[in-house]
């Protein structure tokens, strides 16, 4: 499976933690195209279906209710009208019995015509009448089921029927939906009565419930079905996308051999083919370049080797000539001396080239042994004392830490220190040079600071380039080949450390070598920063006017 689905699985695995849901969902929303699309599809579909269902449910309910109301209104109206006609035609002549009999018959007739048993009638006038039939409540319709608002309205307005929704007490103690219709009925010699017809809407309610349940059932099934369909459809789209994403990631991380599987002829197939063609092309070019680079390295290595044999011969010859130069005339003696010096330099250059080519070929092996960097620095300073003296330079060691042994290749580290110190002496303008050694938990570091002319920032950036020199006119006194710093940088990197430079015109230069303990790689702050900051020693004051007050440093450096 693709990384996306792996991520989803990881999310699902932790669903039990409810508090993590929002974060999980947000994560899934951000990371999973399929989750987002599916959630959107489901959400919008559910919303649409909900709107449609609510609308339908409302429409059906309204129609059911309205049609029933119309029906019962019509029935009640018909019944009352018929009853009124009968009553209008009555000749009662103050016969109480006859009027009561008439009322009974009218009630029966109304009940039949209005198709409801629930009928009640109440005399409106409260004036005593000997003939007026008594109020009646039939079929379970009682006066307390009628609201006073309805009764007042019916009493007040005889010109219209009035209806109201009421709850009709059901057997189970609840209330069934119902409607009551009221209007006036005029009895001869007894005056107006309020007549109420109540209808239960139980069957309508049942129908409505059935329709609603069906609607919601259909709605839920629809959402589930659409979700399933979307899931399958999205799967067919997102799986290739995820594959493409994974493959691109692998390609980007250097695995040039990965390819997309290509099936069919659709857009994904086109994408896969294009991607594969692109990957092919990239792989080919990178291989070509690598081969080219290899050829060059081999060439340099071979040239150096090939030059070595004749150079050895030349060197022996030049040594011999140099040894016998006293026997030559001065001109020849000078030539022999020059030859000897240049051959020596040539040899050094060749050695450096070979070393560089070994780095390039990656065939350098460290020979680690536990070494104290402070002692190593002390040794190097001692070995370079003569050169320093030649330049009148005072080299001082400041070592607050770095005494504990650290695994390193001492030969190479010594070479680095020697190189740095040599450069410092050469460019230090005779001013003091401070060598600092310090360490922390992760690393040990060594800094070489001179107070010479310093370099511009642009120059400092190129200081590790091969054969680069800051001032081409500058004289080489210690026979530098122009490869020293490159080799030093290579050695530092071989240790997993860094070699950094800080330089400022007029303030001098500071090289800092930082080596990790245990070869664990560098983290956190280095023991010695490359930028020395404002060390409070203006260049003009250095050395010329008064002795440099660095005794405390020197003393700290020499325990």
């Amino acid at each position: 499976m693709s990384p996306t689905s792996t991520a989803t699985h990881a999310v699902v695995a932790d669903w039990r933690d409810v508090r993590a849901w929002p974060r999980r969902i947000a994560l899934a929303w951000r990371r999973s195209l399929r989750f987002r699309t599916l959630a959107l599809t489901l959400g919008l579909t559910a919303l649409t279906i909900l709107v449609a269902l609510v609308w339908m449910a409302l429409a059906i309910q309204n129609d059911l209710f309205e049609s029933r109301i119309q029906q019962v209104q019509s029935a009640a109206s018909r019944a009352t009208q018929s009853a009124q006609t009968t009553l209008d035609a009555a000749v009662v002549e103050s016969d109480t019995l006859a009027l009561q009999n008439l009322m009974d018959r009218v009630r029966t007739s109304m009940s039949r015509q209005a198709a409801t048993d629930m009928i009640a009638a109440f005399r409106i006038s409260d004036q005593p009448s000997s003939t007026a039939p008594q109020d009646f409540e039939a079929g379970g319709l009682t006066a307390d089921m009628l609201t006073s608002g309805l009764r007042q309205t019916v009493r007040r307005d005889a010109g219209t029927q009035w209806w109201q929704s009421i709850g009709i007490p059901a057997d189970d103690g609840g209330h069934a939906p119902g409607v009551v219709i009221g209007q006036q009925l005029i009895l001869p010699e007894a005056g107006a009565y309020e007549v109420y017809f109540a209808y239960e809407l139980g069957s309508e309610a049942q129908t409505l419930q059935f329709v609603q349940v069906t609607l919601w059932g259909v709605g839920i099934v629809l959402v589930v079905l659409i979700g399933a369909v979307s899931w399958f459809v999205l799967r067919s789209v997102t799986v290739p996308i995820a594959q493409a994403a994974e493959t691109s990631a692998k390609l980007a991380s250097g695995d040039l051999g990965v390819r997309l599987p290509v099936q069919g002829e659709d857009e994904f197939a086109t994408l896969g083919r294009s991607f594969n063609a692109m990957a092919d092309s990239i792989e080919a070019q990178i291989k070509e370049l690598a081969e080219l680079s290899l050829v060059q390295q081999r060439f340099v290595s071979d040239v150096s080797h090939e030059l070595r044999t004749p150079l050895t011969t030349i060197r022996l010859a030049s040594d011999m000539l140099n040894d016998q130069r006293a026997a030559f005339d001065p001109t020849t003696a000078r030539a022999a001396e020059l030859l000897h010096a240049q051959v020596q330099r040539f040899e050094t250059l060749l050695t450096d080239l070979l070393e560089i080519s070994r780095y390039d070929a990656g065939s350098v092996q460290l020979e680690n042994e536990a070494t104290s960097l402070a002692h190593l620095a002390e040794d190097v300073i001692a070995s370079m004392q003569q050169l320093a003296d030649q330049h009148g330079t005072d080299v001082r060691l400041v070592a607050p830490g770095g005494y504990s042994p650290v695994d390193m290749d001492p030969r190479r580290v010594r070479r680095i220190v020697r190189n740095l110190l040599g450069n410092a002496i050469e460019h230090g303008e005779g001013r003091p040079i401070v060598v600092t050694v310090d360490s922390n938990q992760e690393a040990v570091a060594l800094g070489v600071r001179d107070f010479g002319l310093g370099m511009s920032e642009a120059d400092a950036e190129r200081v590790f380039d091969r054969f680069w020199r800051a001032d081409p006119s500058r004289k080489r006194t210690i026979g530098g080949t122009g490869l020293g710093l490159s080799i030093a940088l290579g050695d530092a990197r071989l240790h997993g450390g860094t070699l950094e430079v800080w330089s400022e015109l007029g303030r001098g230069t500071n090289f800092v070598l930082t080596l990790p303990r245990q070869g664990a790689g560098l983290r956190g702050t280095p023991p010695i920063p490359a930028d020395p900051g404002d060390d409070g020693i203006p260049s003009d004051d250095l050395g010329m006017t008064q002795p440099l007050d660095l005794s405390d440093l020197a003393q700290g450096g020499r325990p």
């Binding site: 109206s77 006609t85 000749v91 029927q161 929704s165």
Partner: protein, 557 residues
């Protein structure tokens, strides 16, 4: 931007959802329904008299009370307002109506709270709606009044309302209750007076729950029995169909009985302008078809005997009746009445003898008593004769020539000047002299099981005549026409059988009257043989040379 509308939408949806799930309401506001539409009621004029005014005197109260007799609504609701609350409970306005002659009314107050009303009554209508002509003279009616909350109210008065004749005719109308003759062949109307409001109910009630008028009781039969009473005292008329609710025992009645009941109801209610009737039991219609009844219509043309012909007068031609005309012409006739079959006639000769003239048979003299009035023929071909001097000697002579003496026919009468049997054979009318004044009477004919007339029922006074009556004939089924002279002038009186008659000035010298099918169809013959027909309020000379104007008793089946 998009979040807020989405929230609002979601909230609305939720609200809708809750509403949608709530189901049908069990409470709510009061809503107006359909307007209450009144079914079109009867469009009769209903009088709305004024109630008692504040501070009215006893005389004004009595005047108002009498005036409120026209307000029949809600059992004379207005009139009751003039009564004390106690008396209101006992006063029965429906007990009857006293009809008095307009203008002849006087109020006297012999003591405070006592009013005496003096009126000249024209008639009284009893609780059953029967109209009885009152005699001459005046009557007094006493009222006693009491103060009720400082207002005079009537505490004592006779039951019933008092109306002058004009208002009576606006408030009340005559309706015919239809009964059967004992042979169930003819419908016999019984005229009743009811308030015009809810006439259908009153008619149906009188017909279904009531009985025929006493004078008709022995002569008519009704299909309604105690088994088929009115279930409710209301007969609503819906879309022209009167719905008469009967008690459920009516279901057990035989179809023939139901058919007759239907016939009676339908014919009775037709007079109230209601074309159709449904008999209902528990709101279900009883299936019944009206039965065929014998028609009592006569030919609208006058039946005359001229010098050379006997028959129906069409324009100036006399269209003879086949076979009978020759027979009639063969005798010397002074008065002729032709039976419904038109195959027989009762003929009176100038000498006074009565002959039976039949098709295909020689005329036979059946009665030669002196002083006979014009003979009359009934539905069973009995010829009724009576000498004018002895009203009690009424004889019905059958086709076999046997005399059926109708004993005690017109008791108390000293003289009879005309006698006619109705076309349905159930009633007989006569112009009698009872005491000093001639008067018009009617009585039911009581027959035995074979239809043989055996007696006359209780006689009933229809009208007191100002002068002696000359001719008498049945107009339509409920009215009689006769001529009389009053102060040298001749009048024709159209007299309903139970109601106020109308007199119309007529040419002098009228000898014979013949009826038509409806009021206004009366023909007259004067001594000179001129034939007059009624044209509105005047008479038109239609034909001359009429020796005898014959009367018809119907048309052949």
């Amino acid at each position: 931007m998009t979040r807020r509308p989405a929230l609002v939408l979601a909230a609305t949806l939720l609200a809708l959802l809750l509403t949608a799930c709530a189901g049908l309401p069990t409470s709510g506001p009061v809503n107006a329904g359909r307007p209450v539409t009144e079914e079109e009621g009867d469009s009769d004029v209903a009088f709305v008299p004024a109630g008692p005014s504040r501070g009215a005197t006893p005389a004004q109260i009595v005047e108002g009370f009498i005036a409120a007799g026209s307000g029949t609504r809600n059992n004379w609701e207005t009139a009751q307002q003039f009564l004390t609350p106690d008396f209101r409970a006992t006063w029965r306005p429906q007990a009857g109506v006293t009809v008095y002659r307009a203008g002849e009314r006087a109020l006297a107050e012999p003591a405070e709270g006592e009013i005496v009303l003096t009126i000249a009554p024209e008639a009284t209508v009893d609780a059953t709606g029967a109209y009885d002509v009152a005699g001459e003279g005046q009557i007094t009616i006493g009222f006693r009044l009491e103060r009720v909350r400082d207002e005079w109210r009537i505490a004592e008065a006779p039951d019933g309302v008092i109306l002058d004749e004009n208002r009576f005719r606006s408030v009340f109308r005559s309706y015919e209750l239809m009964y059967f003759d004992p042979s169930w062949r003819f419908l016999v109307p019984d005229l009743r007076w009811f308030p015009t409001t809810n006439a259908a109910t009153r008619i149906a009630e009188a017909l279904v729950d009531g009985a025929p008028s006493p004078w008709l009781a022995g002569s008519v039969v009704s299909a309604f029995s105690a088994d088929a009473g009115l279930a409710q005292r209301s007969v609503p008329v819906r879309s022209g169909v009167a719905q008469v609710s009967l008690e459920s025992s009516a279901r057990q009645l035989e179809p023939a009985v139901l058919d007759r009941m239907q016939t009676q109801l339908q014919e009775s209610l037709a007079g109230a302008g209601i074309p159709e009737v449904d008999m209902l039991v528990d709101d279900q219609v009883l299936t019944a078809e009206p039965v065929n009844v014998a028609s009592t219509r006569i030919d609208s043309r006058p039946l005359v005997l001229t010098a050379d012909a006997f028959g129906f007068l069409s324009g100036t031609q006399v269209e003879e009746i086949l076979s009978l005309s020759a027979a009639v012409r063969s005798v010397d006739a002074a008065a002729i009445e032709v039976a419904a079959s038109r195959s027989m006639a009762a003929v009176q000769t100038p000498t006074g003898a009565v002959l039976r003239v039949e098709t295909g048979a020689a005329p036979t003299e059946i009665d030669s008593r002196p002083g006979l009035v014009a003979p009359t023929v009934d539905t069973l071909n009995y010829i009724w004769t009576v000498p004018s001097g002895s009203p009690d000697a009424v004889v019905a002579i059958g086709t076999d020539g046997a005399w059926r003496e109708i004993a005690d026919a017109w008791p108390g009468a000293t003289r009879i000047s005309a006698m006619r049997v109705s076309r349905d054979g159930a009633r007989i009318a006569a112009v009698l002299r009872v005491g000093v004044r001639p008067s018009l009477w009617v009585a039911g004919i009581v027959r035995d099981a074979d239809g043989v007339p055996v007696a006359l029922g209780e006689r009933r006074l229809l009208a007191v005549l100002p002068g002696d009556g000359v001719g008498l004939a049945w107009g339509d089924e409920t009215s009689l026409a006769l001529s009389y002279t009053d102060g040298g002038q001749t009048f024709v009186l159209e007299q309903p059988v139970g109601g106020p008659g109308t007199a119309l000035r007529a040419p002098d010298g009228i000898t014979t009257v013949a009826g038509g099918n409806q009021p206004g169809g009366v023909r007259l013959r004067d001594v000179d043989g001129e034939l007059y027909v009624q044209r509105g309020a005047s008479w038109q000379d239609q034909f001359s040379g009429v020796r005898v104007l014959a009367t018809q008793q119907g048309t052949p089946r």
